[in-house]
Symmetry: C2
Subunit: 333 residues, 2 copies
């Protein structure tokens, strides 16, 4: 694992978030699933945009947010994802590179525009997401650079990659290259509805050990094993997964292996503003800690710290240096 | 003033802000004037963007921010400004319309892209702005709808309109129409460097009573009268202006007429995050109060409240309903 060109490389949908505040009745009128990510077509995207309030645009995408976070901790990182050569695509590329992340996937020069996620943040800080995949649809196995993957200590993938038509093949190609190079493959289940769509395939990825490290939140875990009981789901997960981390919002997280479980509390926050990116940034801290060999518990504490930072403001990427924040909190020297 | 179609109509540069955090030494390396607005060309814009950190995009523009604020207080408003028909121009149009503002200026279908302001926010909350005017250059007297201006109780203009080549003529056309219809014309001096560029013309606008209501901050006032002494500048201003409001950051503001001056304190804030939009939102509250005939002091208190809201978060437009905020603070029923 030493001398890795990248400590963590992420592959995911390259998305620009269009973020607005909304009341709960807006979600009801629009028939949205509160707290979930729903895929939408271009017509629906236009409809939602016309109906929603004044917005800000910020680079997003689950795995991209995570990789930005890992870079903010100070690690060498890379991101693979597809944008168009339009204004939002240029903004996405600028933002991830400006965070110090290598981003070498060529943009599409034709076809649909850069992916957008319309994020509605309700007064309780919950986010409800509507994603138009656009150019992210066109991520293809040929966008996977074998040398980059083989040179990355951890390759991190998002479950959302099952949605675009060729991205799953890109995902599997990357996993094979990584394992051939004796590297670690990590996966986030992304969203409970995403698990609903691809349950059998995700279970197979875990059971076949295509995935070495699994991230899930409670809802995703319940969906994966189709049970409402946390302990039942966790016990089953420990039989299936080599290493898994289940995040539980303000209840913290549980690191699970076949041998044991470790609970780690959430980090305190002053005020919950916007939960967008909480899971993504938790993964960032855990991946960073794992890549640096800091042990599961310290990795989980770094994850909790990064999640706390991102939910304290609007948007899914850290505003502060996570490296400095970790030092202030005694988690890094 | 009754039965006005619009209570406040604003004319200004239609700009999308590209906002990033930066350390002071970044400003020094880039040779930027901290706290000021500098005009830049496309090449310099690209250079700054390449050098700056991860950013968010949010609709901006001084007068546009103000009009968004007036709408948030619950008034009937309109904005006149020029964007291109590109992604950022569409975002600008969406955001201002979604705030309830009428925005009928046709976009440019060719020529430079929508104006961008690269805003660097330093750890002390100060903002340093670099504006590429792009499509805003092409605001033209023909974009001034006489009926709309004649139907607006107050027409509000920004000093920055002196920068694009035809916008000054649009400004003067609007002022003439407004006065012919016995309406009020308001102007903000925008920025001390802007005053440096157009001092003689701005003084003439005030002295000729082309402007009925003038907004300035301390630096702009000092620049206008080329004196470092506040009392001297204020005394001269009271000879020249029918009604002026001078904002003084945490020291509050002074409402000045030839007859007397009234000092109003700043509204308290928990934490200064980003001063972008402070002056714009102060003007919003004062214009709203004036349009509603609430008197100068209450108008100034509404201005102070709106300014306090906008400096408590990143970005130049209010995140909360200013109408609700004013009610919570006993300034509106």
């Amino acid at each position: 694992m030493t001398n890795a060109r990248y400590e963590v490389l992420g592959i995911g949908n390259a998305i620009v978030d269009v973020i607005a505040r909304a009341e709960d009745d807006f979600l009801v009128r629009q028939g949205m699933h509160k707290g979930a990510m729903t895929l939408i077509d271009e017509e629906r995207a236009q409809h939602i945009y016309d109906a929603m309030g004044p917005a800000i645009e910020a680079s997003g995408g689950s795995a991209a947010n995570t990789i930005h976070g890992v870079a903010s901790f100070g690690a060498r990182t890379s991101f693979v994802g597809k944008v168009r050569d339009d204004e939002l695509g240029q903004a996405f590329a600028h933002d991830i590179r400006a965070a110090g992340v290598a981003f070498d996937t060529p943009p599409a020069f034709e076809g649909p525009s850069t992916a957008r996620c319309y994020v509605l943040v309700t007064p309780d800080g919950q986010r409800t997401m509507n994603t138009y995949l656009g150019a992210a649809q066109d991520l293809h196995p040929k966008d996977i650079d074998s040398e980059a993957i083989a040179g990355a200590a951890i390759t991190y993938l998002e479950g959302y990659l099952w949605d675009p038509k060729n991205a799953k093949d890109a995902f599997l190609k990357a996993a094979t290259i990584a394992h051939d190079a004796h590297r670690t493959v990590a996966l986030t289940l992304s969203d409970a509805f995403c698990v609903d769509r691809y349950r059998a395939e995700f279970l197979e990825l875990v059971r076949s050990k295509t995935v070495d490290l699994l991230f899930a939140n409670e809802a995703e875990l319940h969906s994966l094993y189709q049970t409402a009981d946390f302990d039942t789901a966790l016990a089953t997960l420990r039989k299936d997964a080599k290493l898994a981390v289940v995040t539980r919002s303000e209840k913290g997280c549980v690191v699970a292996t076949p041998e044991n479980t470790t609970a780690v509390p959430a980090a305190p926050i002053e005020r919950l503003v916007d939960t967008t990116g909480a899971g993504d940034l938790f993964a960032a801290g855990f991946l960073f800690g794992t890549a640096r060999g800091l042990g599961d518990e310290r990795a989980a504490r770094l994850g909790a710290l990064a999640a706390a930072e991102v939910i304290s403001h609007l948007g899914a990427r850290p505003e502060k240096s996570l490296s400095a924040l970790a030092q202030e909190n005694g988690l890094l020297k």
